[in-house]
Symmetry: C2
Subunit: 394 residues, 2 copies
């Protein structure tokens, strides 16, 4: 087992009706004035936002509002939030939504707590010294941002999507009521399950990792997500399945499934970020579209773990050469993606990128990663381009 | 899935040589003067304490020392620690040892941060309003106190062992270097593995629980601990096995393996506490000695989960009646305990308690639990006595 740090201090309040605790939790974490941050009107229409406002009012916590967060959350709104929070003397950011809203709140938190341009942190120019406390009421199980140290923001100019990671942005609390996800459209549910699976796969496919407990947790999590994704396809209103997926989403990205792995891979996420930045595709769908090509490109450099994945996660019989078993595992995962109507190529995603666009994405992906990315196999710009081309041809 | 709260804010620093981080971590969590708390001379003789003192000195953090913690840590030393910490103006408690030392540090933390007799909290008379921050350098994988909200103290007068749980005592950081456990005697290693297994079993055997991800994590954890306990029996110096057991010890008792279970059982722990208080037996050995009797007494009230345990953890074929399968699972776990030289009865523990002693323990156990205990089956004083008698007869 490689050395590791694990730090997941977020307090989780999980179950039906827990959004009514929001005010109490803001108070418990010393918030005295909140910025209520959210996305589209669905949180308003469903009455959720109203219930949260009531809970803040019951605790006597004043708040200002900033809605309008979109998937692949935009830097321009982050700037607006920073200005508003400073003007209003906000000391707590309450994000009501999915990963995009929470990521946007984290970015606002960095912007308020540090001088200068907040994009500097995402652009790897400098490190943040602090972050305003963030709390989350989760409405989409997917990104895991409610417990993670990660925030991903898109700069409109140039379509640049960049992530920044720091423990100081980990939410103080995460309120998770699976009921809030019962009405999610099938496509969004499938995208969420894909993202959750990917957060664990990005930590699972590493080179030289030797960890038993972490692997058993990761394998159990992936099997649970796949089982429940299939249940939700037929029965979207299944509370138990929604609850399993929601809890899996948090554990998949809070660090637990990578403890002792020697370093995460996250190349698939890197590849998808450029697709998301350029085409504004749904994150989960983008991941599914490129994962199989990534896996086929790298599996021979990470054969023991691709074999273990095939056998322990996908139920492939351990028969034939290691390469046979590994490839069958990759095929089985792609079959699963297709079974929940996720794309496994650019074409299925509705994209037919030009050669220049592929080269542009590979270049940006390499720059964003500081020249190379990956643990299962270290990828350089030419590798990234090769994978994009595979995904574009399939 | 039942509603749950999960809060495990402890920062984990895991790997070889990590004890050298102790000073830095005390500093990071705002400690300016530390009480260095430890047990017997082994930490001194091994040089561990010296390395930790150096790391404190490098950070310019003054400290006072209090050694002498024993297994089933004593209230009298806790009182001494409270007095010393107050006199010396200590604002951080650095525990170097296993569960007993960390539990003792937590009790000192309560005593310093609250007026009046610290025993009141353990005696369920009142709740603590605060706790001095605690950090841990772990030397024994067993109790899980390094991430837990629990502290168990023994009052010498009357041999009363009582636990108190509150999130405010959760350690700020836990430094875990598996190398420090390489020289543990076999008996202590086996006791530790038993305690770790029990912390998950106490959360697994519950009535009405319906949780998939939590179960997969719990099952993977139990299998990993059993596999590595067997490796350590033959090869105590195996770093990888020590690392798996150490990480399992923390995850087993930080709440993770019980999320959504509707409430833990912990009856076996309750039964053992009275044995530990009266006879000063090793905690893990006491648990093994009474678990099988508890399991046979309660399994029919918790049949689906005992069956699941038998099949998914112990590898029992799902053949025959549910009761057959459940009983085979219990037998398999007892076989495992015996394979690592743990007792499965009072006699094997070297005890032959009188009828009066059994009655005394059952009475104390019932009082400590406020009259009843358990989730798999709710136990009253007569049930506790029946289980003690089964363990005394076998």
């Amino acid at each position: 087992m490689f050395p590791f740090n694990y730090y997941a201090p977020t307090k989780v309040i999980f179950g039906k009706g827990t959004e009514q605790e929001a005010g109490k939790q803001v108070r418990a974490f010393h918030g005295t004035k909140a910025l209520l941050h959210y996305g589209s009107g669905s949180a308003v229409r469903s009455g959720l936002l109203g219930r949260i406002k009531e809970s803040l009012e019951e605790e006597g916590i004043p708040y200002v509002e900033l809605g309008g967060v979109v998937p692949n959350p935009r830097l321009s709104l982050v700037y607006k939030g920073i200005e508003l929070a400073k003007e209003e003397g906000v000391d707590f950011l309450l994000a009501v939504g999915g990963g995009s809203v929470i990521d946007s709140a984290k970015a606002i938190g960095y912007g308020v707590a540090n001088e200068g341009d907040v994009w500097d942190f995402y652009d790897r120019k400098r490190k943040a010294a602090g972050c305003l406390p963030v709390g989350a009421v989760l409405t989409i199980a997917a990104a895991g941002s409610e417990m993670s140290n990660s925030s991903v923001i898109t700069k409109e100019e140039g379509g640049i999507k960049r992530g920044y990671r720091d423990d100081i942005c980990r939410p103080k609390f995460a309120i998770m009521n699976p009921e809030l996800t019962l009405t999610l459209p099938d496509y969004q549910t499938a995208c969420g399950c894909t993202d959750i699976l990917m957060h664990t796969m990005e930590r699972y496919f590493t080179n030289g990792g030797n960890m038993a407990l972490t692997d058993r947790i990761a394998e159990g999590l992936m099997r649970t997500v796949m089982e429940n994704a299939k249940i939700l396809l037929k029965d979207p209103q299944n509370y138990e399945a929604r609850a399993e997926v929601m809890w899996a989403g948090s554990l998949s990205h809070n660090g637990l499934t990578g403890c002792g792995n020697g370093g995460d891979d996250f190349a698939t996420h890197g590849l998808e970020h450029e697709m998301g930045g350029l085409y504004d595709v749904a994150h989960g769908a983008g991941l599914a579209a490129v994962w199989g090509s990534w896996a086929r490109y790298v599996y021979q450099d990470c054969l023991p773990r691709f074999c273990q994945f095939a056998v322990k996660v996908m139920g492939v019989p351990a028969v034939g050469t290691e390469a046979d078993v590994a490839l069958k595992g990759i095929e089985a995962m792609e079959d699963f993606f297709r079974s929940i109507h996720m794309p496994t190529s650019f074409a299925q995603l509705g994209l037919s990128p030009t050669k220049e666009e592929l080269e542009d994405m590979a270049h940006k992906c390499s720059v964003a990663a500081g020249g190379k990315k990956g643990s299962a196999k270290v990828l350089y710009e030419e590798d990234m381009l090769a994978i994009y081309k595979m995904a574009a041809q399939e």
